[in-house]
Symmetry: C2
Subunit: 214 residues, 2 copies
DNA sequence: CCTTTCCTGGAGCGCCTGCTCTACTATTGC
DNA sequence: GCAATAGTAGAGCAGGCGCTCCAGGAAAGG
């Protein structure tokens, strides 16, 4: 008998995934041939299809692996005493990879794939629903505490999520600055959650920093 | 001799473009074969390539045709006396097609293509820059008039544009309602332009309408 | 009428695709 | 050391691709 070494297996799998991520980000799913992934990973096609059933499966795995981490972040956010802290925590977590150069390409490929590939759509939907639910719980708590939200709690949650998605897509623009964008996004979230961010102190107009929300 | 009939030519071209738009929205550029476009348009491949040089060219034409209309809208917006009217005009113009069922698919395909196809990226960039410039002119005028913008005028313009893009992408979500989304977006734009939208009157929290900005 | 050009469908070409299959080596348990 | 199986490379296959090319119908000018 010979048993499988799960650790080595996972390492090799991750190696292939990393190589595939670069190709998918650059050329998309349809635009990336399996031969290209093999070349990038330095393996033969036999090896590739030993680890993954289909090309689509590779792309799915790239996002499926993030699901548990997001679930954990949601749980931590809800556990916070002050809802605004939870929202801040969740927003920060979801913005972690904003500076990753692969992100815009992968985000574009993902948005595209959601409209095309039903199985992938369900995968992403599960993740989205999870985050949405957490955000809605938190915004509902804010509303219950008397915060004057501009929209119903569910809609506020939807907008926060929309802003996050938009951030990842705009990360590919030529003069994109993650720090500025993050700061401004927090400001917008502050307004959406009924914070005092609407009171604009004079002089802030030209300063990219200076967000007192915490 | 025989002369070309430009009117008939344009009609046929538009017919092919309409058919292609449906296919591109459903399957993307790579996922749509030229044979499929031919079938959808009820023509042979000879005809298709008589009107368009390449498959990519068909996709480009789909967006290139909108450029002059957007330019005109920008000009009209800048010509307005009150900058907030101009912004409102431009935002409304850019949200015209939000209810079109093809829009989410085409937007996804476009976002994807921008990251892949350099020529298409330049095409979209030209359109984006044009709108951005108009918005920035208007927000700068607002700032000069003493309006307390939350960010520098250029950044406010960028955010308005980002919100518009996000709207088109989220238009594919299951419970998307164009009217609600538009109303809320105008509210956000109101805040971004230093309007009084931040003062939340009680009872607005559950009302999807009621935006007094004009 | 004839000529010229536009317009058209579809056969077909060369190429590339995702994936399978086979032959082989490396590593494990006994 | 032996058997069993995990892991690997790459040739090869069937099918689909974008696009070309050609033969002929349709329509305009003279």
């Amino acid at each position: 008998m010979r048993t499988v070494n799960p650790e080595e297996h996972a390492r090799k799998r991750a190696h292939i995934l990393a190589a595939a991520a670069g190709e998918f980000a650059a050329y998309g799913v349809d635009g990336t041939s399996t031969a290209r992934i093999c070349r990038a990973a330095g393996i033969g096609s036999g090896t590739l299809f030993h680890y993954f059933a289909t090309k689509r499966d590779i792309f799915h795995a790239l996002f499926r692996d993030d699901l548990p981490r997001n679930a954990e972040a949601c749980a931590r956010a809800i556990a916070r005493d002050r809802p605004e802290d939870g929202i801040r925590l969740l927003v920060d977590h979801l913005l972690t990879d904003l500076a990753d150069p692969l992100v815009p390409g992968l985000a574009a490929a993902a948005v595209f794939q959601v409209n095309r590939d039903e199985e992938f759509a369900r995968l992403i939907m599960a993740d989205t629903a999870q985050v949405r639910s957490a955000l809605e719980t938190l915004t509902t708590r804010l509303a219950a505490a008397g915060r004057p939200l501009p929209f119903p709690p569910g809609r506020v949650a939807a907008w926060i999520q929309g802003l996050l998605d938009a951030a990842y897509l705009s990360a590919g623009e030529p003069d994109f600055d993650p720090a500025t964008h993050t700061a401004e996004l927090r400001r917008l979230v502050g307004w959406l959650t009924g914070g005092d961010a609407s009171a604009t102190p004079p002089g802030t107009r030209t300063s990219p920093q200076g967000d007192p929300t915490r």
